[in-house]
Amino acid sequence: MGNMSDLKEREDKLQGMGTSLLRKEDAKFIRGQGQYVDDIKLPGMLFGAIVRSPFAHARIKGIDKSKALAAPGVVAVLTADDLKPVKLHWMPTLGGDVQAVLADKKVCFQYQEVAMVLATDRYAAYDGAALVEVDYDELPAIVDPKKSMDKDAVIIREDIADKTEVGHGPRTHPNHIFTWEAGNKAAADAAFASAEVTVREEILNPRVHPCPLETCGCVASFNKATGHLTVYMTTQAPHLVRTVLAMLSGIAESKIRVVGGDIGGGFGNKVPIYPGYVVAIVASIVTGVPVKWIESRIDNISTTGFARDYHGVGELAADKDGRIKGLRFTALADHGAFNSHVSATKLPAGLFSICTGSYAIPNAYARVDAVYTNKAPGGVAYRCSLRVTEAIYLIERMMDVLALKVGVDKAEIRRRNFVRPEQFPYTTSFGWTLDSGDYHTALDKVLKAVDYEALRKEQAAKRADLKSPTLMGIGISTFTEIVGAGPTKVCDILGIGLFDSCEIRVHPTGGVIARLGTMTQGQGHATTYAQIIATELGLPASDIVVEEGDTDKSPYGAGTWGSRSTPVSGAATAMAARKIKDKAKKIAAHLLEVGEGDLEWEIDRFKVKGNPTQAKTMKEICLVSHTGNLPAGMEQGLNAVSYYDPPNLTFPFGAYLCVLDIDKHTGEVKVRRFYALDDCGTRINPMVIEGQIHGGLTEAFAVAMGQQIPFDDSGNHLGNSLMDYFLPTAMETPHWETDHTVTPCPHHPIGAKGVAESPHVGGIPCFSNAVIDAFAHLGVTHMDMPHNAYRVWQQCHALGIDKR
């Protein structure tokens, strides 16, 4: 024992942290044996189809169900009036507002839920839905959020018109939701007043949609005999949903079971509680049989949680060398007709105040005004913690704008303003404590890898050649993320803290089952959590089973969103494992007849210091823990549960560089190279991390280059099918080059920071910066996304460079 090859063999057998263990979850998916919600079929199940509003804003004068009820297979038609007796025609949102479950006298956005037709199968249900006759009286719609608070603006939400607040402070207009401020306005204003250089730019994060490949849906099953409600649903946060359902329905929370099952992608789209779920649940309670509701793609894009729609203004004040002295970022936020997205009670604009990014900025102020419009509700979603993409997009864009103004290279301006390694932990002027980082090393590594100097030389030559048919752009993004919500002292939803949990049970022969409050949607939790336990407990990952998503089985947690699984539940996993290990050590000391202090841990066993032949493996201890041969007073078993309330959020960071070429005559953009360096602290499974980065970059590419949810002036949705809404195929998607540095998180038990959202948050500004950089020598400082060929060509045309 103890020789190097033996140690390595034992370590390899565990397949713990740091190894690219192939995923446990693949076995069912590659065989087509996943269990997604639409795969569930219960005896006697009805199918619900929703009747939706064709108008963005209208009064409902009447609903005639008679023709629908006469159609073959139709069992019932539910409207708001049917939900009123059980007080379920309105529901609380995760954002402090209320939302109509089925439209109550008026509709406030196109495709809003008006009725649900229940029928024996989906064809009959949709036939029935087409026969429900709704009499509407159309009202003028507000589509442009800049007009929401006009004096004569039509009131969108008459139900709350006289309320002075909707969960987040005073309102100044019936279409106003909240105004949120952070930082020190006076100090920031003073910095601008005395600055040598100031820059200002209007920057839009357009309305986009996460569009997971599986739409939302549920199967609700209420058992009238036992009073138990089971809901199989597409949710990223099953425990929070269960709590809300208990609040809503009055059913004891112990009699409600929410099951996440397999989920076909989420990206934030599956956090909110949508009317369809609630109506299906009510329908099951009323009919006593299971009810399935599955969205169509059009329903999904038109009505469920969109992302962004932040109309921002960025301002920086600096000295003549580009050292930033002040920052003022504001945004007008279009939340649609209901404030329904998930938001922490104290953080209505989410984590927008991470907008100082990776930079030491002494004076900063931020403000967000949120308003209602006649559009679908949402705002927070799409592969980033609450409003982090909007914040990082602004600062990373403004760094380029400042660089142009002061005539400093775009890499150099970042270097001059980075928080320096020796400054960590660094508290930003908004109060976030960046726990660790090494931004200079990350950027320098990327610049070296791509030979940045040579790229800039090539670009200069191309710019000098007016006959070149292409423009060359180089984009840099050196972002800092804020993930892992979060410490209960700052983060709660509906009063529930955003801790998370892990329960571990070790069986006599060394098999382990771990249950967590998170909910995988493809991130590979069954594999990576098992690897954490394997390393912590010295038991092979192959024998560790991870379960999530069934609220009857797993301990309470806030779910998977905001890259919180590894930062919060990964920590809970390590802490629960450590409780078990502490007990195992006591058993080992008892068996070896030594004091605990005489023992040391080696991969999979405790051994006596100085006498390595005296050892007890974890496998041996697992069995003994289920016998009577234990230290005096010790109970049997090797189980533990940990509820982890993180002391801080985590701050993964990265340096990205994009090189692209633009056809001056068509506006077509070709990504030549994308180099992504990520630092997510300790790396649990490099293969899974790389996969997450590929996916996040591809979604960033989608947002930057093609996605936008357009409306006409009447609030009609102009792009809600996959014909119109851009999802990149394998043809458009660039090849990704990945790299990493490792700066462990000092406050996390295993030093991990989370990774899945970084490539989305950091990728979007990198693409934009590259596109705009291509035009920088022509005086262009900003172009709004999406940078599709037509819009880029418009820029070429405006500059007159599209002529042959």
Partner: protein
């Protein structure tokens, strides 16, 4: 009542008779009546490819074909790729190259790649990307899917007896 028809076809090598509505889409017949829930529904408009199956030697999006059109067809779905307890080279390669995350596109993607490799046993990266452009994936960014198809192509070529 809606008109019904009885349709007969071969599904993963086994003969099937099924009574369907005239207007019924194949994807619903497979999923609701024949318990083949491997092919998924992502858009019902032929864009995403999650419902891809193989009919008479062609990749077909099962959301855009009527079940009644499949009378007499020879049909293969993801459920039919594993033979005698042995995974198809593509299934194995998707696992080994981390070519899937949430798994929702995977059955359609693998079924499409199966036909692609029949048509072109040694495709270039560009040919694979073009050949899979009818199948959307929101999780992987396609890079590992491309690697998986390349890896499976090598495995299948190595298993092929050398021809003189």
């Amino acid at each position: 009542m809606a008109t019904t028809h009885t349709v007969s076809f071969k599904l993963n090598g086994k003969p099937v008779d099924v009574t369907v509505e005239a207007r019924e889409l194949l994807i619903h017949t497979l999923r609701e009546r024949l318990a083949h829930t491997g092919p998924h529904i992502g858009c019902e408009t032929t864009h995403c490819g999650a419902c891809t199956v193989d009919i008479d030697g062609m990749s077909v999006k099962a959301c855009t074909v009527l079940a009644v059109q499949c009378d007499g067809a020879d049909m293969l779905t993801i459920e039919g790729l594993e033979q005698g307890g042995v995974l198809h080279a593509l299934q194995q390669a998707f696992h080994e190259e981390h070519g899937l995350q949430c798994g929702y596109c995977t059955p359609g993607m693998i079924t499409r790649a199966y036909r692609l490799l029949k048509e072109n046993p040694n495709p270039s990266e560009q040919e694979i990307r073009y050949g899979l452009a009818g199948n959307l994936c929101r999780c992987t960014g396609y890079q590992n899917i491309v690697k998986a198809v390349q890896s499976a192509a090598r495995t299948l070529a190595a298993a092929q007896p050398a021809t003189a």
